[in-house]
């Protein structure tokens, strides 16, 4: 992985001042080729196959619905996956025989039929460690593995990151009604807020969006040392409290690796001066009716290996997470609260107040000055979930 031509980036830097967003007006044709993504998981865990269609530039994702997806062995075994919506087809725990070869067989709702080539089930070695280092820039997370049998050589990783975080502010007050208004533009009704702890602490999960591959083919031993997985920049919310990453590892065939490598180069590693032409992506899935039809994807079969680690904020000194949330002081005398609420703001802190009327049996306060912020700064469920994941300590 290190062998990629780093020097190509030097010119990129020379040009760094001169790289700018550019959206040419491209008249892309309607394509709608089938896209098949997923690895037949021969080990623990489920097999997830995603079906979608290629789309025009700037149009929205089009899932392939209503298809029948089957895993077939060359021993004539057949396993049918269940459609889970959004183009996801799933089956739990396939117990595949490593001596056999398997393929994917897809019947789409428009009566087309696609089959992949038969592939071996690669026996993935376990992940030795998911390591991390913290330097001045942030936390670098890497994977290490080895195969004592020297059989794996090509590896693919993806990951799920999960982090716990707090909403930055615990508000003291809440608008209950704006109908009662003694003096339009000057006062409004709030009640003291009994801070709701359920919207203060949340978790968020994010999946990898880069193609992570590595190879030991040029080494005398099948060892992968510090393959980059992801990077958490210093000050990121992800490590403001506690962070966890689940790395999944699959061994690939040389062809599957080559496919992902081309896709990575075409879509992630382009843009330098010594720029290779985008290459044609040739997968191993074919239309039965028309073999020349383009189908994007390469079906592999491998046993999945996973490893999860946790990193807490206390392990990274001077992390310096700074919330982007701000409190702005407002004076009802100048702008009525109604206007702020209408523009999506919520009140946070009272700076000065006096008692108001009893409203619905509650003593209200009349706020003279107070602070406002955006709702996601007081309610973390707007950006994540407040249901603690089962694996969280």
């Amino acid at each position: 992985m290190r062998k990629t031509h780093h020097f190509l980036w030097l010119l990129l830097f020379l040009a760094i001042c001169c790289k700018e967003k550019f959206t040419p007006n491209l008249n892309s044709p309607t394509t709608g080729y089938l896209v098949v993504e997923g690895i037949i998981n021969g080990g623990n865990g489920s097999t997830n196959i995603n079906l979608s269609r290629t789309i025009k530039l700037d149009s929205t994702l089009q899932h392939e619905l209503g298809a029948i997806v089957q895993v077939e062995g060359n021993d004539n075994t057949t396993y049918t996956l269940t459609e889970k919506g959004n183009g996801l087809y799933q089956i739990d725990l396939l117990n595949l025989n490593s001596a056999n070869k398997y393929r994917l067989h897809i019947y789409t709702s428009n009566n087309n039929e696609y089959i992949s080539d038969f592939v071996d089930v690669k026996d993935t070695p376990p992940i030795d460690t998911v390591a991390w280092t913290y330097d001045g820039d942030g936390v670098h997370i890497t994977a290490n593995t080895h195969d004592p049998n020297n059989n794996s050589k090509y590896y693919y990783w993806n990951y799920e990151e999960t982090w716990e975080y707090n909403a930055p502010f615990i508000p003291e007050l809440k608008t209950v009604d704006t109908i009662i208004n003694f003096n339009e533009g000057h006062t409004f009704m709030v009640v003291p807020w009994p801070a709701d702890p359920s919207v203060h602490t949340c978790w968020n999960t994010q999946l990898s969006s880069q193609i992570l591959i590595g190879s030991s083919a040029k080494l005398s031993e099948d060892i992968i040392e510090n393959a980059p997985v992801t990077f958490v920049p210093k000050g990121s919310l992800k490590l403001s409290k506690m962070y966890s990453i689940l790395v999944k590892q699959y061994a690939l065939t040389a062809d599957a690796y080559a496919f992902l490598n081309i896709m990575k180069k075409n879509t992630e590693q382009t843009g330098s001066v010594f720029d290779p032409q985008p290459s044609e992506l040739k997968g191993n899935i074919h239309s039965v009716k028309d073999p020349s039809e383009i189908v994007v994807g390469y079906v592999s079969a491998a046993k999945e290996q996973t490893k999860r680690i946790f990193i807490s904020n206390s392990q990274v000194q001077n992390w310096n997470y700074q919330t982007a949330c701000q409190e702005d002081t407002v004076d009802p005398a100048i702008t009525p609260i109604r206007q702020w609420v209408a523009s999506g703001y919520v009140p946070v802190h009272i700076l000065s107040k006096h008692d108001g009327i009893i409203y619905n049996g509650v003593q209200t306060v009349i706020v003279d000055t107070y602070t406002i912020t955006l709702p996601q700064c007081v309610d973390c469920t707007l950006t994540g979930t407040n249901i603690k994941p089962s694996f969280w300590p």
Binding site: H5, A15, L26, Q210, L219, G271, V273, F274, Q277
Partner: protein
């Protein structure tokens, strides 16, 4: 007002007689400081100082403007200086009378043979009082110094019995003794002419008799020699550089080389022109100046790789003093590898490639280094923002041998330091060194030893260090067998290598080495058979040894398995002959044939593939091992080089040409720009040689007394078996590289228009090219079919290209250059759609090169400020101040799409996004 001289004399003489004769104390030295003086002012001054009398036709001399600064110089020398480069002549008689004339000198003595036959002239004619003094300083090989002196060639008492005789010699720079290349030497009536070769040597066959021999060369003053030819002989001619100019005298004479030569598609640029053109960072760069010529393009600013008439970068033969330079760029292509201080000129052949060159399809770029000053020690130094350079030259034995050594180095790290933090640990540096020793053993033998070395090294804030360099050495012996036959024998060794290594020790640290080596021998002969036939013939042979990749562990911890691709050996040989046949003065033909042969040599292991199936690893039927020295595969074939010229008039001609080329060594690259780490590969049983042919036709017309040259050339070119790579090709350390490349066909055609003004206060050129370069891969058995087997534009296909190079000399110390260039954006492959895969939207590609990036436009400005012009001072200095990309336009180098954080973003990348000012200080001593 074309009155006869003698008549004018009658009018003028009495006028002066009365004025001038009064001064008795005639002295023969003068001190002058004139700037743009008219002839009257000039003569008045001379007359006052010398007391000589002057006679001239006012109407003939009214265009003369004299700028001259001399102290206590003899009158003859002053006049010579004032008139050099013009067709004005003078004579001085023993009566202290000076006669100015145009075209022909006034005879002050009656020739002894005047009463006899008209062609006989006295053996030692003295034209003036002062000539004997000049002649005392004559060198043994009799350099002709004066234009109005009559030279006798051959012994008039011996009748050799031939109608035509041969005259040969060298044309030299009078100041430095360096040869003048490409000077045209000709007589009129009958019109017979020849150009000097790269050693300044000429050989011309003319009938016996009396002639005016004209000598012209760009950058030098035209001169002429009165000769009387009795038999074979030698005559060396010295030309004066145009250092001191006669303002407003348009020394046009006949700058007709573009109209007259048989060859077409040839451009010569001398270093003076190259230095005038503004370039980024102010470092004169001959490859970038070549890019301003019609038919020469590149993919973008970060590449010095040239695409000549639709050829790829590896189809150019780049020769630097006969040595092949495999990588002509430094610093990612921002600088060319040639130090401007040691370069004399560059010739680009893009159509009629002479038969003596071969081995590349598109062009020959022949760069001639300077020879050292044979008379005095001299040197120069320059300081720029990124580079500094120094060169020293001088005689080893005065007038016999000289040396020149030049070096350049860079200090670009400051540039890297001001870049964003992520590059703060990057380093980049380069240097290059040239030397050239030339020695004249005797009149018939010259030897030349030249060497070149360059090295680049950089790392990019990563653990990987890149290092590449050229090394070349050559030894050349020029031998004159006779006036008619001369030979050049050259041997040398060229090497290009790179390596990539990690500079820290880890499990994956490695060292990758690659090199190309070639040893060569060339024997080239010129035979001046007669005035209508000039033959060139010779043989050459190149032995190649390539190490296409060695991959080794980079440290003690490293687990890298050593891997080495077998070394490749090959022998490329060729024999050629060509004849320049002047059928009539208006019609001449140059026809040549070159037979080239390539042997792929053992030891090697060759894969065999099932016939009719794509070359893929699945189709390998076996391997064959060959031993050392085995001839594994031989390719051979003839290459034709034909061109013809017909002149309708002195200033208008039409030319046509056809030539074919074969190429046995290829670059394998999947990058758009030429990268230093590209792989070179020899043809082998599985990789065929490339073959190309080209038809071209051109019209050449000179205007305004030949000061403006105009030409229009059209061409059509076909390329076969050009190597392209397959999708996902692995080019590094591939033991069966034939499985990752495909043969493609190409065609290129275009029109090139060039208008050039070489002289005058305002000079420069305008070039416009319309051209297309299209490639095709439609053979399904060869692997993948690109764009459904249709023609698609090559990466460097830029149909419209307009360049204006202009230089305005405000005065002798200050000149301004302004360039503008426009071209169509280059084609790129853009996505036709997107899809979602591995957590992100990603781009879907098809239709190679179907879109074009926005058009390119750039304007550059440079000012050259010279220090004072006194010829005698110890050092001369100059400043170059300029702005590259004056308008600050962000010219896109590429447009690309990248998946970031799950979505696809489009970007436009520009190499230079703003105006870049630069300053350079040069000093010569």
């Amino acid at each position: 007002m074309r009155k006869m001289y003698s008549i004018c004399l009658c009018f003028v003489l009495p006028l002066f007689y009365s004025v001038a004769w009064a001064q008795k104390n005639a002295k023969d030295t003068v001190t002058l400081d004139l700037h743009g003086a008219t002839v009257d002012q000039f003569v008045q001054e001379l007359q006052n100082q010398t007391g000589f009398r002057f006679y001239y036709d006012v109407s003939q001399f009214d265009s003369l403007r004299v700028t001259i600064t001399v102290t206590d110089q003899p009158l003859a020398k002053v006049l010579e200086q004032a008139f050099t480069g013009t067709d004005f002549l003078y004579s001085i008689d023993d009566q202290h009378r000076v006669f100015f004339s145009k075209g022909q000198a006034v005879k002050t003595l009656l020739p002894a043979g005047l009463l006899g036959t008209t062609t006989v002239t006295p053996k030692k004619q003295t034209d003036s009082l002062f000539v004997p003094e000049v002649e005392k300083k004559r060198k043994p090989n009799e350099r002709a110094i004066l234009e109005n002196k009559i030279y006798e060639i051959g012994d008039k008492s011996v009748d050799i019995g031939q109608a035509r005789v041969n005259i040969a010699g060298y044309v030299l720079d009078a100041k430095t003794g360096e040869p003048v290349v490409g000077a045209s030497v000709y007589i009129e009536k009958p019109r017979i002419g020849i150009s000097t070769d790269q050693y300044g040597y000429y050989s011309i066959s003319i009938p016996k008799g009396r002639y005016v021999m004209n000598v012209q060369s760009i950058g030098m003053r035209d001169t002429r020699r009165q000769i009387v030819v009795y038999g074979e002989g030698k005559m060396n001619i010295e030309l004066q550089g145009q250092v001191i100019t006669l303002k407003n005298v348009i020394v046009s004479a006949q700058k007709l080389s573009n109209v007259r030569s048989v060859q077409m598609g040839v451009q010569r640029l001398d270093i003076k022109t190259i230095k005038q053109v503004p370039v980024v960072f102010g470092e004169a760069d001959l490859l970038r100046v070549l890019l301003t010529l019609p038919g020469v393009k590149s993919v973008g600013e970060a590449s010095t790789g040239l695409n000549v008439r639709g050829g790829s970068v590896d189809q150019n033969l780049i020769l630097f003093n006969d040595a092949t330079v495999y990588n002509p760029s430094h610093f990612f292509g921002l600088f060319s590898a040639f130090n401007p201080e040691v370069v004399k000129d560059v010739e680009l052949y893009k159509s009629s490639i002479p038969a003596r060159y071969g081995g590349r399809l598109s062009s020959v770029i022949d760069i001639n280094g300077r020879e050292g000053n044979k008379k005095n020690f001299a040197g120069s130094a320059g300081i720029g923002l990124l580079t500094s350079r120094l060169n020293i030259e001088g005689p080893l034995i005065k007038d016999k041998s000289s040396f020149i050594v030049g070096g350049r180095t860079t200090y670009a790290n400051w540039l890297l330091n001001i870049l964003p933090d992520q590059y703060k640990n990057s380093r980049a540096s380069f240097y290059d060194v040239n030397f050239n020793i030339s020695h004249e053993i005797n009149k018939k033998n010259n030897i030349y030893l030249t060497g070149y070395m360059s090295k680049d090294r950089f790392n990019l804030n990563s653990d990987t260090v890149y290092d590449y360099g050229n090394q070349n050495i050559s030894l050349k012996w020029k031998h004159v067998f006779s006036n008619k036959l001369s030979g050049i024998f050259t041997t040398g060794y060229d090497r290009y290598r790179y390596n990539i290594q990690s500079d820290h020790d880890s499990l994956t640290s490695y060292k990758l080495n690659f090199d190309v080596n070639q040893g060569y021998f060339k024997a080239h002969f010129n035979y001046y058979l007669s005035s209508s036939h000039t033959l060139e013939f010779g043989v050459n042979s190149i032995y190649y040894k390539l190490h296409p990749g060695s991959y080794q562990p980079g440290g003690g911890k490293s687990l890298v398995v050593p891997d080495e691709v077998n070394a490749e050996q090959g022998l490329e040989s060729a024999a050629y002959i060509s004849d320049r046949y002047t059928i009539t003065p208006n019609f001449s033909v140059e026809a040549g044939i070159r037979y080239s042969m390539f042997n792929y040599l053992g030891p090697q292991t060759i894969n065999t593939y099932a016939p009719g199936l794509p070359k893929e690893t699945d189709n390998i039927t076996g391997t064959v091992n060959y031993g050392k020295g085995d001839f594994i595969k031989t390719y051979s074939g003839p290459e034709y080089r034909i061109s013809a010229r017909y002149s309708f008039s002195d200033s208008f001609s039409i030319k046509a040409g056809y030539n074919t080329q074969r190429q046995y060594i290829h670059v394998l690259s999947n990058t758009t720009a030429q990268a230093p780490t590209d792989i070179w590969k020899l043809s082998d049983p599985n990789i065929k040689p490339q073959y190309g042919d080209q038809f071209s036709l051109g019209l050449y017309k000179n205007f305004k007394s030949n000061t403006i040259e105009a030409s229009v050339e059209v061409y059509y070119k076909r390329i076969q078996d050009y190597l392209d790579y397959k999708s996902g090709a692995v080019l590094v350390l591939n033991h069966h590289i034939e499985t990752d490349v495909i043969n493609t066909k190409g065609k290129a055609y275009g029109v090139e228009v060039l208008i050039k003004k070489n002289t005058g206060k305002l000079n420069g050129w305008i070039s416009y090219t319309y051209s297309r370069t299209l490639l095709k891969q439609d053979d399904p058995t060869a692997g993948e079919v690109i764009n459904n087997g249709k023609y698609y534009p090559a990466n460097y296909d830029k149909p419209h290209d307009l360049t204006v190079i202009s230089n305005y000399r405000v005065n002798h110390r200050f000149s301004v250059s302004l360039n503008a260039t426009y071209s169509t954006g280059r084609p790129i492959t853009v996505p036709i759609g997107t899809f979602y895969y591995a957590g992100s939207l990603r781009t879907l590609y098809a239709d190679r090169n179907s879109y074009r990036i926005p058009d390119y436009f750039r304007m550059d400005l440079a000012m050259n400020i010279l220090g004072n012009h006194k010829v005698d001072q110890k050092t001369h200095n100059s400043w170059t101040i300029g702005i590259y990309n004056l308008t600050g336009r962000k010219n896109p180098y590429s447009v690309y799409f990248i998946s970031e954080n799950g979505i696809v973003n489009g970007y436009k990348l520009s190499i230079f996004g703003s105006a870049i000012p630069y300053i350079n200080f040069n000093i010569s001593f």
